[in-house]
Structure formats: C-alpha cells, structure tokens
C-alpha cells in the first residue's frame, strides 16, 4: 500500500473546515514547529531531501538556506498558486479540499524563513478558491494560529491572498513578484535572485503550493523519516494530476517507486485507456516537458523500467527521456494527432508569452503559424526543419524558462514523431479526414504479449 502524506485525510467529510481538520490531527505540526528554532526547521527540510514540486525540482532546503538575512530588512514567503500549466491541476485540489494543510505549511515555512507577511498568489481563473483560502485563514486566525504572537512565541504572521490576472507567465517566480507588486507581470533578469532581492527588493522565497504543503508531513514525521520514503534523490510523495485518454482522470498521490505502466493501467490510479484504445504518447509533467512516445515511456532506452520519479523519467536526457515537471500527466491514445496537439501547445505559449524578450515573443508565434499550416494541410517539407531551427534558437536564449517551455514540446514532437509531420505534409487532404494513428510505435504491452 502506497504511503499517503498529503491526501491521507482528503476523504474525511468536512476536512475543509477548521474543526474537522483540528480533530484529525491538524495544526500539530505548527505546535511542534514553533517549539523548534527556524534553523532547525530549515535543517529538517534539508534532511528530507524535498524538491520543489512546481516543476524545476530544485531542493527546497537549499533554496531556503540561500535566503539572504540582512539586519532590519523584512523577508517574505510567497506561495506560488498560479498553477496555469496545461495538464496540471494538483494545487487546485489541495487548496480547494484541504486548504488548512497549505495554511499549516505556510505558517511553519513563514516561521522558518522569518516572514511576517506571507502571500498566496493565486491564479485568476481559480475564481472560487481565494474565498475558500480566506475562510480557512480567518478560521486559523480566530483560533490563534495566525496574527500577533502566535502560541506565545512572539512570532507574528499574516497570510494574504492575492488573485492574479490569469497570466501563465506570472507562475514564473520573478514575474509573480512583479505582478504582486502591482506591476506588469514581466519576468526580471536574474541575478539578483529573489532570495536576495525579491518582493519589494526584500529577500523572498517563492515556493509551490505542494512544496509548502509537504513541509507539514516533514515536521510531523521528521525530515529523516520523510527522506526514507521514495527512491534516491526523489523523496516523499508527489501529487500527479492525470488527464487525457484515461479511464479515471484526477489527482493522485504517488510514491516514487511506482512504475509508469502501473500508474496508467492499474485500477488504483488511471485505470487504463478507455474504449480499448492503445497508448500513443504521454506528457508526464505538464505541457512544457517533452512528449515521449509509448515505446520509450515504460522502458528507458537502456531497457530499464521507467518509474514515476525525477531521475527515472529524465533518464536518457531529452533524446529519449522527459521530465517529471509539475506532475501534469497527459495521456494520448492512438486517435490523437501529435501535430494538432503540438499546434495547440504552441498556440498556448504564443498567447502566454509576455513579449519582453525577442526570441520568445516572435519565435512562439512563428512556430504556431507554421504548425497551423502543417496541421491544416498547407505545410511544406522544409517547414519541419524550420521549426527545429526556430525552437533551437529560442531555447536557452530567453530571460525566463517560458522560452524553453515553448521550445521543448515542439522539439520533442519533431524528434519522436517526425514521420507524422511528414505524413501531414505529404498527404494534405488525407490528413484532414483521418488521423495518422499509432504509426510504427507499437503498444509496448502488445509486444510483451
């Protein structure tokens, strides 16, 4: 039986409310944490090996220890709830159904980092969730977990919820900070990093919702115990939001020793692919990570089983691997068209590019227009090479990772599904009436049988 650390109480009725949450062991972690020193908490988080759950997978403890602590300058913790990556909706589940877990994590992290004003920057489209969070914050405050002199420790903390305007770019931490300051959400140039000059030029830590929620089990069970769960450098548990052509889409808490095959086909998780269709491809970590065809999904290029963890999914680099990313697991069956899929992703990144730096501003639109031509039967063979050239010149040359995020899906689609692009170009009329299908990528399960 898999260990559940975040969603272990999600099934309890009324867990959204303070009384139920408290009855079921809520806020014990805060009690425990406020008896420790801030440095001890950072040390526990470091020991746990927790890695950022927002997509980049940077060790949280290390990020916290980078926080500059100049005398007399307030520090801030910002919770990044601007979850806008297509395919990712794990934070929404956490905030909507177990908001007190996040509040608890925020109080502990604020104490550890010395933030007296903590912000939750929430995606604009999550219109109803700020109310849930504000209600939870009010309950916590009424019960003395927030406000002045929490539990008599002399630590003051307030949590504010700020709604975003619905821009994907504001999920990038420096753009988020700009937006939080009331400015246009353009990413800042780094350095200086937010840990030195962030919100209002004060030292700031920006963490994902799930990362901050994971601090609660770390304090409850101790960093060392938490670090024992998982595989290698992937410790703890991860929320995966599964969607696409699967029988049971939803948010699942997984352990890192779960194989990808089991995740898709077992009834405990996604429950297989509906209507007896075969698996074509999968994007395991939100729309910006490279797409992998079915033959590379269950087994790595070396023939080893692929597991749902940071290392195993990225085995083989971008040539044959992908990334765990934010955990937005999108499954494509044989009826899906990779060209169309790539086109709609390119459209998304074109729409969401902030327009600050030229490769991303101009390149994303160009890629979208070319993909649109190919998809609608007006493409040329040279367009495929041109796409490759464009993505190559965007990747790594932009201010923020949005450029990379726009380039990777296109690169991976061409890398693995070039024949499908070529088929679209060579058969402009046929490609309007039927899909290319699964091609020569056999369903790995059939090969085994």
């Amino acid at each position: 039986m898999a260990v559940k650390l975040l969603l272990d109480k999600a099934h309890i009725e009324g867990i959204r409310y303070y009384d139920t949450w408290r009855k079921n062991g809520g806020y014990t972690a805060v009690e425990k944490a406020l008896k420790m020193t801030p440095d001890e908490i950072v040390e526990e988080v470091k020991k746990s090996g927790l890695r950022g759950r927002g997509g980049a997978g940077f060790p949280t403890g290390m990020k916290w220890s980078f926080l500059a602590k100049p005398e007399g300058v307030p520090r801030h913790l910002v919770c990044n709830a601007d979850e806008s990556e297509p395919g990712t909706f794990k934070d929404r589940y956490l905030m909507e159904f177990i908001p007190h877990l996040l509040i608890e994590g925020l109080i502990i992290s604020s104490f550890a980092l010395g933030s007296s004003a903590t912000y939750i920057y929430i995606r604009g489209e999550y219109a109803w969730i700020p109310d849930i969070l504000e209600e939870a914050i009010a309950e916590a405050k009424a019960n003395g977990w927030l406000g002045k002199n929490i539990l008599g420790t002399g630590f003051d903390c307030e949590i504010y919820v700020q709604r975003g305007g619905g821009a994907y770019i504001c999920g990038e931490e420096t753009a988020l900070i700009e937006s939080l300051e009331g400015k246009r959400g353009n990413p800042r140039l780094k350095p200086p990093f937010p840990a030195v000059q962030g919100l209002w030029m004060r030292p700031t830590v920006v963490n994902n919702v799930e990362t901050l929620a994971a601090v609660v089990p770390i304090i409850n069970m101790g960093g060392e115990e938490y670090g024992k769960i998982g595989v290698g450098r992937s410790t703890g548990t991860k929320l995966i939001s599964a969607c696409g052509n699967i029988n049971k889409p939803g948010v699942y808490e997984i352990n890192f020793d779960l194989s990808v095959e089991e995740f898709i086909y077992s009834d405990e998780y996604c429950g297989g692919i509906p209507n007896g269709k075969r698996l074509k491809a999968c994007i395991p970590g939100g729309s910006s990570v490279p797409i992998v065809p079915a033959n590379l999904l269950f087994k790595t290029a070396k023939g080893e089983t692929r597991y749902m963890n940071y290392e195993s999914l990225s085995d083989g680099g971008f040539a044959t691997g992908t990334m765990l990313g934010s955990g937005g697991f999108i499954v494509l069956d044989e009826d899906q068209c990779v060209v169309r899929h790539t086109m709609s992703l390119a459209h998304f990144y074109n729409h969401e590019s902030c327009g600050q730096c030229s490769p991303c501003r101009e390149g994303t639109g160009w890629m979208y227009k070319i993909l649109k031509n190919i998809e609608y039967g007006k493409g040329k063979m040279s367009d495929i090479d041109l796409l490759w050239d464009i993505q190559r010149r965007i990747e790594g040359n932009t201010i923020c990772p949005l450029g990379d995020a726009a380039a990777w899906p296109v690169a991976a689609a061409i890398r693995h599904f070039r024949d499908e692009f070529e088929w679209h170009v060579l058969n402009p009329e046929e490609s309007q009436t039927r899909n290319y299908g699964i091609a020569h990528y056999a369903d790995p399960r059939e090969v085994v049988a």
Binding site: E352, G355, C357, R361, E362, G363, R393
Partner: protein
C-alpha cells in the same frame, strides 16, 4: 576597495575594469568588433537591457575562483564581470548563431519600409541586420501591423516598426515625473502606448525619439523632410534655461532640419562633464530650427564607416583599428567584398578619367563607352 580592478578577457583581449562593470561596458573599453550589439540596453537608463538578446555572449570561464563556464549564453548588458572572467563574443560560433537567430526574430514583424523610414541611415536594426542578418527571410506570414498613433504634438508612434526594447518606457519613467508611457497587451501583439491615447506633453519627452533604436518614434517636425545622410551634423549649443542646451544640428546648407541630442558611437546620448546625461528639452529639439538660435561649435566627428559621413568630409575620423588579427580573423562586418565579386565596380578604373557622371556602362569589361550613355547624351 575602490582601486580594485577585475581582469576580464573578451575575445582573447584582456582589459581591467572596476567591479560592477557589465560585460558590454568592458567590451566597449576594448571597442571595435568585439562589442556585442545592443538593441535594448542603454547605459544611461537604469534597468534597461536584457530584453532583445542580441548581446548574448558565451562565458567560457566564470571567474578565477570558479572557472566553470556558464551553462547558457548570457545577456552581456546585464551580466557583471568577475575577476578572471573569459568571454567569447565573435569568437564563438554559438554566439554568432544565436545573434543570427535573434536578428531574424527581430526582423520577423519589422516592416521593410526602410526606403521611407526616417530612421534609415542611423538605425540600430539596420546595422544589426547588416552584420548578423540573413539575406532573406524565412517568414512567409502576414506581419503584425498597428495604426500610426500621434502621441503629442511632436512625436509620432509607428508601432509596426517597434522592436519592444522598452527604452522609451524607461526614458519616460526616469526623465519625467509621472508615468504616462508603457506597454499594453502581451506577446507578439504587445504595444507601446500612452494610457490611453493620451499625449506625451512633458518638457523632456522628445528624448524618447533619440533613444528609439528603430523608426518607431519619430520627430514630427522632421518626418519625411530629408534623409539623414543628406544632412550634415554639426555640434552646437545655446543657453537653455531647462536643459544643457548642447545639441547636434542636422543641417543642409544653412537650413537646420533636425535637432537631436549629441550621441556617441553606440547611439547613446553623451554625458556632460558633471556626469549627467545631456538630454535636451523639447524647446531645443522642436522649436529652435534656425541657425541664429545656436552657437555652432563645428562639424561633428563622424566615423568614416557611417553612412552619415558619406559625401560630407574629406578628413573623416577613422574608426577603431581593426582587431581581426586578435580575434581569429573573423570579421562579421565584411559580408562580401564588392570588388571581388562584381564585374561592374572595378577599382582599376579611375573615376577622375571618366567624362561627366559615371555610368554603369563605364565599368563594363572591354567597353569604354556604353550605349546607355549615348542614349543619355541623345536625351540631352
């Protein structure tokens, strides 16, 4: 602390600079071809730079303490030097490729209206595409266009030409006391605008024309009046109650066609002796268009490679000595040698020996007088 110097090597040329200097500034101390092109960076504007990505360089050695190379190309305008840093600008194929890519991206939606654009001849984007651009575009879609917009009585905004360098936004924010100029929308349809449709009426707002690297912001008192290379720049000054009054007049004969601030070789407004930037006020720029308003100091020194210098000076100032020998023989400026590939333009023909204005027929091999010329003579 203040006399501490960092050694930085750019394209195998070492220079000593003060800590906190950016790579671009260090490269400008060396000068010549190793200076990365900058479209958005403006050393006189705080916070500018990092956006256009044309100044990307490769840092092959981080510093003396941490010799690891930087994983990605970095924007040299916003990256400060470290002691012992080694930077590759035009010696790195990766950098040249990235610049070629950025140039292509910048030109994607830029209209090819140089023949009617007032900026032509002093346009940063023209220079950039001459050095790093490809011969033709691979973009076969409709370019994005905007309506022309009048922002105030003196300035016209032609957003179609804009490359979104944000320089004018920083200028308007830093020179004027209220924020009235910014960016609307996002992505490839984002637009520079005033909020909303308002006029820019500040006394110093004319400087946005000077900082614009392309022809997006133009001087309405000069629009379509003349080509910049037909006008002759002279330095002049007057006693101005608002600004330093030190300007550059662009004259043709005795007529002043245009007044701008004095710019250095990187297209940036020069600094005064007191360290301040010599921005000029609207009165100097737009109102004083007669020679009697000005005390003329003398002709501006213009680099002989500049199109501005064409036809004006016998004793043009020579540019920096070439650094080709130092930097593995690469000269990105020289795309082709016209004398080598052209049959027409033959250096052995002495122009002074040709009677009357030279015609292309005069340069044809084995032909001393061309038919075209005869037709031309018949026409007379």
């Amino acid at each position: 602390m203040s006399d501490q110097k960092f050694k930085v090597t750019i394209d195998n040329i070492t220079v000593e600079v003060a800590p906190g200097t950016t790579i671009v500034q260090a490269a400008r101390l060396i000068g010549g071809d190793v200076v990365p092109p900058t479209m958005c960076y403006y050393s006189k504007l705080e916070g500018s730079g990092g956006k256009c990505r044309t100044c990307l360089v490769e840092v092959s050695k981080g510093s003396e303490k941490d010799p690891r190379p930087m994983p990605k190309l970095v924007a040299s305008c916003r990256t400060t030097v470290m002691d012992g840093m080694e930077v590759k600008s035009i010696t790195s194929d990766k950098v040249l490729d990235a610049r070629k890519g950025v140039t292509e991206f910048l030109l994607l939606n830029h209209p090819l209206d140089c023949p009617v654009c007032d900026q032509a001849g002093e346009c940063d984007l023209q220079n950039l595409s001459y050095e790093h651009g490809a011969a033709s575009t691979r973009y076969d879609f409709k370019r994005r266009t905007f309506e022309k917009e009048d922002i105030g009585p003196y300035i016209q905004l032609h957003m179609t030409r804009c490359i979104l360098c944000y320089r004018c936004v920083y200028t308007a924010n830093q020179l004027t006391d209220k924020r009235e100029h910014g960016v609307l929308d996002r992505g490839d349809h984002s637009a520079i605008s005033t909020c909303i449709g308002k006029a820019l009426d500040n006394e110093f707002i004319g400087n946005v024309i000077d900082v614009c690297p392309v022809g997006a912001l133009t001087d309405k008192t000069f629009r379509f009046k003349n080509r910049v290379w037909f006008t002759k720049p002279v330095d002049a000054h007057r006693d101005c109650p608002t600004c330093s009054g030190r300007v550059r007049l662009w004259m043709r004969g005795d007529e002043v066609f245009r007044v701008t601030a004095r710019k250095d070789e990187y297209g940036e407004v020069e600094s005064l002796e007191n360290g301040k930037t010599a921005w000029i006020c609207n009165t100097c720029r737009f109102e004083k268009k007669e020679t009697k308003d000005w005390v003329i100091e003398g002709p501006t020194k213009v680099n002989r490679h500049s199109v501005i210098s064409q036809g004006h000076y016998v004793n043009a100032v020579n540019g920096q000595p070439k650094l080709i020998n130092d930097v593995i023989g690469k000269d990105p400026k020289l795309l082709l040698d016209i004398h080598k590939i052209s049959d027409v333009n033959r250096p052995e023909i002495d122009l002074s020996q040709i009677e009357g204005p030279a015609h292309s027929d005069d340069f044809l091999p084995n032909q001393s007088t061309g038919t075209m010329k005869q037709i031309g003579k018949l026409g007379e």
